[in-house]
Symmetry: C2
Subunit: 425 residues, 2 copies
């Protein structure tokens, strides 16, 4: 007995899925008890060499041919972006075909609508490939942690940014140098904004948080800050304090609401997230019963992502892939001003007596106490960096204090702020 | 609609399951769409205070009452050991009730028979809790990696041993000191043999290897070596070579058969397995499509293990928990003599000119080449340690060379051998 598979999007992931179905089809059939049979593949470009030959009757330039093909039982959407991906998924569901997608941007913004549409028809949407590439984090949260009240998720969810940060940290490269290296190696795109400005990670943490907390989180409420402004010297100072800097996507369930944010974050050097190097992803999840779990692997790439698509296809073929349940009401997201955490502050100050006392005076007035300070020698420009780690403080107070401090005439540049996670959960 | 749960064994894990059902029952019901209702709990000892009050009509001293209760739909076996656990599981399956078990010793030795018995009746056995405590490694291999040809598994599968090795490594403790500490903290049992001699890890890797490779691996063919003979100085020398020593359980699929073994293993310091500290477990799995994945978390304990039991219960309640398929023929396990890896060798030699040349001569005759050597000053006993890392060599040749070397009159004690993994997969 076969299950007909139709794929829309014959790009990096699409061709990975086709290759993997060809390579491991036999094992898969034994394990699933049914054969997954490729019936149709749509792409605008059918000329490009993808290293696989498919019979021409399987190929089409028209996505509707995949959706309408009566032999296609499951539609796999791998074109990415909002439109026409959204329409294709809706059409497939209308035709009573379950869907598998790797489309994080779409799910982060239209997941609520799509999942509702599918649920009303008794259908499922598989989305393992939308977060963490080959890491089975969706299955873990949806199924393995089903008995847990999930408290927090901390993810290195963008391999490109992590690669850049690793090169900056290990070789002292600037952001621009490391970005160019990443582009040269095909790890970053020509327009890297989605990756390095944090949007891709924001899409993914929106999906994970919604799944973990059982309520959709409004993507527009995610605080997003990328890694462009990080300097090798910040990374160096962080090291001196015992931290690595990672682009973390964080979701926490506090008693009074959800924290959800993406920003460069100082992580204690010994933590496994700090040890996650290169283009790898890692997700640290804390459940009330299970405690902390870490999942690590390749968060992107043709075959790793195809592995996740096949996991969904196998579950659908077995009738095991179910939609998670969501409350009607969205999750209530807290304002960033309410955040309480530890902060790294780098002041660019004139090297003059009394400066440190002025700064720490203003911090003190704003209820911010200092855990440690590094003050280094003069820079060529005559300003010295004064670097501090605070004790836990409230973001609103930090912002107020920095506005005041940055107005001082002894301060030469806007103060740099990096949030830290101390993982005392 | 409710699903009736019966539990045999109201110990650490059993009481964790009961607590978790009480605490997160509501979330679980929303997620699963059905209520998991505790119907019966059996234990020999019903007097002990477990911190939970259960109505007395739910409690029984007789396991058969759980199995026979018509309101019990799923039987959870948590007593451990071979008998009577095996009989209880068979009886539950005979009564057409699916089973959830955390019993690694039983599955490693009788899994083939039990799975066959269940499959013949169209029933399933959930065993997520049998390996890695709360880490969803069974689900990951069984479901998430279904599209992968799994090449290798490297696991820190015994938290007690890892705790002992961590204390030895970080504080220079001897094995016995660290064991006593572990016993004092309740991490090691009075009789620690199952943990520190590698048997527990061997049970678990047998289960994972069978699952990953789709053929049962005969537990009696697993090579097992524990950590009792490790000394702080070996750990120190390993560090100097850039390695940590971990009790690794290893399963690899070579073209000519399966490697399956548990022994102290040198792991490159930077590897996440080397960074896994204390009583935590970690499993590094390599699939042909997904590449390497790491799963990390608490491998034991009441609530983490209960989290895994609830995952199986939820899957069974939804009808999603299926038995993996196995080939009739068992996996063919390779002899240890055929192993090719990198070795650490510590010779206890008399401090006399020509000793190193004698040793390296014998190694050379046996096709073993040396990658690096450390020779330290004299010990009080007049013998000096000569420590080497070899290039990749064949275990049979190593053993032959060591037999010859250990006969030399300049060698004062049997040579210590520790295998290394270089992770160039």
């Amino acid at each position: 007995m076969g299950v007909g598979i139709g794929i829309i999007g014959f790009g990096t992931v699409g061709s990975g899925v086709v290759k993997l179905l060809l390579k491991n089809g036999t094992i898969l059939k034994e394990r699933v008890g049914k054969e997954l049979v490729l019936k149709k593949v749509a792409d605008i470009d059918l000329e490009r060499d993808r290293g696989i030959k498919l019979p021409s009757e399987l190929l089409t330039r028209n996505a509707e041919h995949v959706i309408e093909d009566p032999e296609v039982d499951i539609v796999v959407e791998l074109i990415g972006g909002i439109q026409p991906a959204r329409d294709y998924i809706l059409k497939a569901l209308e035709r009573h075909k379950p869907v598998v997608t790797a489309n994080k941007a779409l799910l982060a913004q239209y997941g609520k609508e799509l999942f509702k549409f599918a649920a009303e028809r008794g259908l499922s949407i598989g989305f393992e490939a939308s977060v963490g590439g080959g890491i089975p984090i969706v299955k873990a949260i949806k199924e393995a942690l089903v008995g847990n009240d999930i408290k927090a998720i901390f993810g290195i969810l963008n391999g490109t940014s992590n690669y850049i940060l690793t090169r900056m940290s290990e070789e002292g490269m600037s952001f621009n140098e490391a970005l160019r290296e990443a582009q040269r190696m095909g790890i970053a795109e020509a327009d890297p904004s989605l990756d390095v400005d944090g949007w891709d990670a924001a899409h993914k943490i929106t999906i994970l948080a919604s799944l973990a907390f059982g309520r959709w989180v409004d993507f527009r409420k995610v605080y997003v800050e990328g890694i462009r402004d990080l300097t090798p010297s910040d990374i160096q100072f962080a090291k001196e304090f015992g931290y690595a800097i990672k682009l973390l996507a964080i979701a926490k369930k506090d008693p009074d609401g959800i924290q959800i944010r993406v920003h460069p974050t100082m992580v204690p050097e010994r933590h496994l997230l700090a040890q996650t190097r290169g283009y790898f992803n890692a997700i640290y999840v804390v459940g009330d019963a299970v405690g902390p779990l870490l999942f690590y692997g390749q968060g992107a790439g043709s075959l790793p992502t195809a592995s996740a698509v096949l996991s969904d296809l196998a579950d659908l073929a077995k009738g095991n892939c179910y939609l998670p349940s969501f409350k009607d009401e969205d999750g209530s997201v807290k304002e960033m001003g309410e955040l309480k955490t530890v902060y790294y502050l780098r002041f660019s100050a004139v090297d003059r007596p009394g400066v440190l006392s002025k700064i720490s005076g203003i911090l003190g007035e704003n209820d911010i106490s200092i855990a440690s300070v590094i003050q280094k020698g003069r820079t060529r420009k005559g300003a010295v960096p004064i670097v501090m780690i605070t004790h836990e403080a409230v973001e609103r107070n930090i912002k107020r204090a920095l506005r005041e401090i940055d107005k001082l005439d002894v301060i030469k540049k806007p103060t740099k702020l990096i949030r830290a996670e101390v993982f005392d959960l």
